[in-house]
Symmetry: none
Subunit: 213 residues, 2 copies
DNA sequence: TTGACAACCGAACGGATGGTCTCTAAACTA
DNA sequence: TAGTTTAGAGACCATCCGTTCGGTTGTCAA
């Protein structure tokens, strides 16, 4: 695949910026002016190249008919996930119900990178309280994104409830016969070994997001 | 608030459908044809009403300059930041240039929660390599979102380059006279004390995102 | 009956816009 | 060295497109 010239990168950048700003694509002459090109024919020339390379799609003879494509094919969709509660060490992990699912108070919604959600369903988020989960590399105020499941494959990061200890924790899970090994993300720290009956998997962790002021 | 006429509802529906399909707004004549209106002036007449009622926004004298507004006011905005490189312990931290800024290879773009970016400019992202930054609660494969700055207020999490040690690190920064204290996010770990000349702040960390398979 | 008004229609104006043609100049190639 | 390709410049044109203007129809109240 050929490289893009500086001018072509500039054009794509401007189109994206323009659409982001005004919600409709720029005309050829607006591109010309913004990118300091002296002629519309040069813009047309470069747009043809960009179209051939799959960066944009054009409808001929139609004004402003420039569509910005993600060469991967995917349109940048927003994935919005509800934050249905908090997760803390000594507190049961909230599981999503039809009820919590419906309450979409916009303050409690979180937009996450779309590929984090991918094709999954039943994705929700929990805000982390306290710093008891520092061995999972999440701290007070972070948000963990979860997929609802009670299974949990070996090696996956899960939210688990330890019945005897009455404690919630985020660990990688490994089933070893009748016992379960819960391995912290920070590999310098020690795993927990307990029997399978004591562990209730409440969901699979598919991501974490930290926002600093 | 007045009710919309059937024709106006039809127009709005068509505009939405058109944009969803082609990613740019229709012209007045396309609306006319699709909604079986006999004159462009009628379309203009109705668009003016829709604009006054706040359903759309138009730029005058510009073709296809129709922006569909969500009557609620909130637009589900996506904030997209470029991943311009990697950050690792023994490797200089990439700083954004006009060049890296323009190259928006979509494979290297990341969508983040919009309020993370807020009003900031010059926001970029770095992929973390290696597990040397575990004391900042970020691990191999995580992505840190940065704001370009060379200042860094007391208490802020920054990406710093230690000149003597030739080492990159993520820490909270505290200036104490002529020395600088770099405090790990994990408060159980020890801070680094060094003199101010040895520290080069490369950017402010405004967020971190972890995606697990 | 009259007037006001909203909705609509048809045509035309003029600027905006995309496409194309010709010409240059530099880089590359045989 | 001559031919080819790539990138760009400037001018021109047919069409696209938003706007405007004059006119029509239907409704409703005075």
């Amino acid at each position: 695949m050929k490289e893009l010239s500086a001018r072509q990168r500039r054009i794509i950048g401007f189109i994206g910026e323009f659409i982001g700003d005004r919600d409709y694509p720029p005309s050829i002459r607006q591109i010309q002016e913004a990118c300091k090109i002296s002629s519309t024919s040069v813009v047309d020339y470069n747009l043809r190249i960009l179209e051939k390379l799959g960066y944009i799609r054009r409808d001929r003879e139609v004004s402003r008919a420039i569509e910005l494509l993600q060469p991967g094919g995917r349109r940048p969709r927003v994935a919005t996930v509800p934050i249905i509660g908090t997760i803390a060490a000594g507190q049961p992990i909230p599981v999503p119900t039809a009820d919590t699912w419906q309450s979409l108070d916009p303050d409690e919604m979180l937009e996450v990178p779309p590929d984090m959600v991918a094709g999954r369903e039943n994705v929700y988020a929990l805000r982390v309280k306290g710093n008891s989960m520092i061995d999972a590399l999440v701290n007070d105020g972070d948000v963990v994104v979860m997929e609802s499941t009670s299974a949990g494959q070996n090696g996956e990061m899960v939210a688990a409830w330890l019945k005897r200890e009455q404690e919630a924790t985020l660990k990688r899970i490994y089933r070893e016969g009748s016992t379960v090994r819960l391995q912290p993300a920070n590999e310098t720290m020690q795993p927990i070994l307990t029997d399978a009956d004591n562990v209730e998997v409440q969901g699979r962790v598919i991501g974490a997001i930290r926002e600093l002021s």
